[in-house]
């Protein structure tokens, strides 16, 4: 499916115009095309990743990036600008941080990013594909917090299965039946779980069987294999014995049908063993899908009387380095915005659309992440395998959620890469002589400058014991965590730039406090030296809760900005994911989520999108 020139969008009324070619746009396009609906997909970014030759160039960008951040392979495009992790700094309100793409009002910078390329953020995501828990859909009823979703876990089940097929998820059902998660009898995932890492196996020897108590409720801390959209050994029992064929790299399909342990899931899988949205887009029936890239949507045009969407105005640019553009308006019977939570909100605000509830842009949520890192007593052999293969899931729900955020705990296979840029920083420190990491920076013992065999041995001895844990702490929907726009802030094409106001409340702070206690217990059981450092001066996500400093990191999740609900006064889309205000406008993606709870949201967004596709089809067939 090659991108078409923008002229082909003219003189025709598509069945559905989809804005955004990330995972949700791709799932919509494929689902609708399968029912012979004519779809137009408009993508703001370029199609670099879809050609294996230029994909290899993206890989080279990663190799030569000095900061190996999620966006490092994907150069910025001034016509479709995107946020970067490097732009995050501490904010001194009332002065916003205008360093990067976002105008960050604070008090805390929003720490996560998304990728504006064909394929979207699934190009750089980790691949973790957990389902939400039944409790997560009913937080108001159960814990008096947030709101209830208008759908339940049981409603979601068939759509989770569709998403697990489309995304190619590897897991064993028998390990995933915890905390209320359940499956239809006989259900298996398309592929067997990925082998646990040596680090997982070693850590689980210390943690399995241990528990943590909160308010007399006991939570188990077993290490559990993580379902992931990453190719593994197909399960021959899948689909009643039909089996499953892993999908390889787009443009090089014999590559990537098994994970080969590149340990670079974030930010780019060299062989595309990890799912990315291009796989969905390129397996859609191209007869029914028209794709236009380098097409930035600037406005959703709405008839003031009927409130129906009459067209999608977009700016088509020839080259990423030149702001010249031509404007077009694309027309459809139905419309769907799939540009991810922040851009969807921005576009709605720019269009004066869908906001009778005044919730558009509000309730922005991430998984604020507590990082803990240490040195295990014996070698774990990190920096191998997928970036993460297991986690501790036992605390994802409990009565304590009435006043404390819950979390899941991801165990990394990537050593200290995330918190400290290890092992490069280890090399620098040992060669140049710096504080011993085991002293936690508190009373630094200056190490000698090492060279030769001593350096090599010390590096081996120390780095092989590195591990990190990431606590994905939930945030509540908060009306003041929001995306807004202003005529004062526009990009090279004259489109709005998101202004973000964001903070971390006491509920999440309590989650960090609890998480800290939990990790200290786990480290003790592992026999690990705690090397975690919170730097109040330089950590962008530094915040205080009850006079203790913590550092939040972004998990790469952006949710909640146009949430679902049963009440048009407090939600933007109805339970069918159609905007309350406009009969022919649907919104898809993480922005629809009412709560983020503790699971990485992409699988849920995928499932929701399959649900939305059915609803759009029903609208078309009316």
């Amino acid at each position: 499916m090659n991108p078409s020139s923008p002229e082909v969008t003219q003189g025709t009324v598509f069945d559905v115009v989809i804005v955004g070619a990330g995972i949700t746009g791709a799932i919509l396009a494929k689902s609708l095309a399968a029912k012979k609906k004519r779809v137009l997909v408009l993508e703001a970014g370029t199609a670099d990743a879809s050609n294996f030759g230029s994909y290899s160039q993206l890989l080279d960008n990663f190799y030569t990036s000095q900061a190996k951040i999620p966006q490092s392979p994907y150069p910025d495009n001034a016509n479709a600008p995107q946020p970067s992790e490097l732009d995050c700094e501490q904010i001194t309100p009332p002065i916003p941080d205008t360093n990067g793409y976002f105008i960050q009002v604070g008090p805390i910078p929003f720490l996560s990013t998304y990728t504006r390329y064909l394929g979207g953020t699934t190009l750089h995501w980790l691949g973790t594909s957990l389902r939400m828990l039944p409790d997560d859909f009913r937080m108001k009823t159960l814990f008096g917090q947030a709101e209830d979703w208008p759908v339940s876990y049981d409603d979601m089940m068939p759509y989770y299965a569709m998403a697990e097929f489309e995304m190619g998820v590897s897991a064993d059902v028998s390990k995933q039946n915890y905390l209320g998660i359940h499956f239809p009898p006989g259900y298996v995932y398309p592929m067997h779980e990925l082998p646990a890492s040596w680090s997982d196996k070693t850590i689980s020897k210390s943690l399995d069987g241990t528990t943590y108590e909160v308010d007399q409720e006991s939570f188990n801390l077993d290490v559990i294999n993580t379902p992931a959209s990453r190719n593994s050994i197909p399960n021959q029992a899948y689909a009643n014995g039909k089996g499953y064929t892993p999908v390889g790299a787009v443009g090089n399909p014999s590559l990537g049908q098994r994970c080969m342990g590149n340990t670079a899931c974030v930010p780019i899988c060299p062989i595309q063993a990890k799912y990315n949205a291009l796989k969905t887009l390129y397996s859609a029936d191209s007869e029914y899908v028209t794709l236009v890239t380098q097409a930035v949507v600037s406005k959703v045009e709405i008839d003031p009387t009927t409130k129906l969407v009459t067209g999608i105005r977009f700016k088509y640019y020839e080259s990423a380095t030149n702001p010249n553009y031509t404007e077009f308006v694309a027309k459809g019977k139905q419309y769907a915005l799939a540009t991810h939570a922040v851009e969807n909100a921005k576009l709605l605000l720019a269009s004066g659309a869908a906001n009778s509830s005044d919730q558009v842009g509000r309730n922005l949520m991430d998984h604020t992440t507590l990082l803990a890192w240490g040195l295990a007593p014996e070698p774990l052999w990190p920096y191998r395998g997928p970036v993460a293969t297991a986690g501790v899931e036992g605390m994802r729900t409990g009565k304590y959620r009435k006043d404390t955020a819950s979390f899941r705990i991801e165990i990394g296979n990537d050593g200290w890469g995330w918190p400290t840029s290890g092992p490069i920083t280890d090399v620098i420190e040992l060669v140049d002589g710096t504080p011993d990491p085991a002293t936690n920076g508190s009373e630094p013992i200056q190490l000698p400058k090492l060279w030769g065999k001593a350096l090599r041995e010390r590096l081996k001895e120390q780095v092989r014991r590195q591990f990190r844990m990431a606590f994905l702490v939930e945030q509540l929907p908060n009306a003041d965590n929001r995306v807004t726009i202003s005529p004062d802030h526009k990009d090279a094409l004259g489109n709005y730039i998101p202004i973000i106001a964001y903070g971390i409340d006491g509920y999440t702070g309590a989650g960090f406090e609890l998480g800290t206690k939990v990790y200290k217990q786990m480290f003790k059981d592992i026999g690990a030296v705690d090397c975690t450092v919170v730097n109040s001066k330089t950590d962008a996500g530094y915040f205080q809760y009850k006079d203790t400093g913590y550092t939040a990191y972004g998990a790469g999740h952006l949710c909640g900005t146009h949430r679902m609900g049963s009440d048009p006064k407090t939600s933007v889309v109805n339970p069918q994911q159609r905007t309350w205000d406009h009969e022919n406008l649907y919104l898809v993606g993480c922005g629809n989520m009412v709560t983020v709870a503790t699971s990485n949201p992409t699988l849920t967004a995928g499932a929701l999108t399959f649900m939305a596709a059915e609803n759009i089809l029903a609208s078309l067939d009316k």
Binding site: Y383, G385, I424
Partner: protein, 168 residues
């Protein structure tokens, strides 16, 4: 022509010494000492020439010459090399060279904010990944399931065969 130790070199019109023709070999030998890896390993990166070219154009030639000559003259004596590394200029350059081999990245100074990675290959060939028995993320993949077991090199051919199994 001038001489430093066993190395002869010309003085260019600029007044700086021109690196002698065999300085590449001295650079390799010095790098072996500084990095603690074998010649085979350093040559096995395929980057000797690229690194030498970079160092000789980004470092002070007299300091480089002194360093190469000094490490050569040390003839394996650790204390002699330590003395050289204690010298502010030679030590700094030596550490830059070590970091270059280990990471494929050049660190111009302690305060520099731009520390370029010379090429995609230099990233892949960083010796740090060999030292920690892993692989550079995104390259030299180890194969499905390899991560599930410890990385265990077997005993050297020239050594004994007594070490078996999983103990590192």
């Amino acid at each position: 022509m001038s001489k430093v130790g066993s190395m002869t070199f010309e003085i260019a019109p600029t007044g700086n010494p021109v690196l002698p023709a065999d300085s590449l070999a001295f650079f390799l030998a010095t790098s072996v000492v500084l990095t603690g890896f074998e010649r085979f390993d350093l040559l096995g990166t395929g980057l000797l020439q690229q690194y030498f070219d970079y160092v000789s154009t980004h470092a002070d030639s007299p300091t480089l010459l002194k360093l190469l000559q000094g490490v050569t003259a040390a003839a394996g004596s650790e204390s002699a090399v330590s003395e050289i590394l204690a010298d502010p200029e030679m030590g700094l350059l030596a550490r830059q060279i070590i970091k270059l081999w280990y990471t494929g990245q050049w660190f111009p100074s302690a305060t520099a904010t731009d520390n370029p990675i010379l090429s995609p290959s230099s990233y892949e060939q960083g010796l740090v990944w060999n030292a920690i028995e892993a692989h550079p993320p995104g390259a030299k993949q180890q194969g499905f399931g390899a991560w599930s077991e410890p990385f265990t090199p077997l005993v050297s051919l020239t050594g004994d065969a007594s070490s078996k199994g999983r103990n590192a």
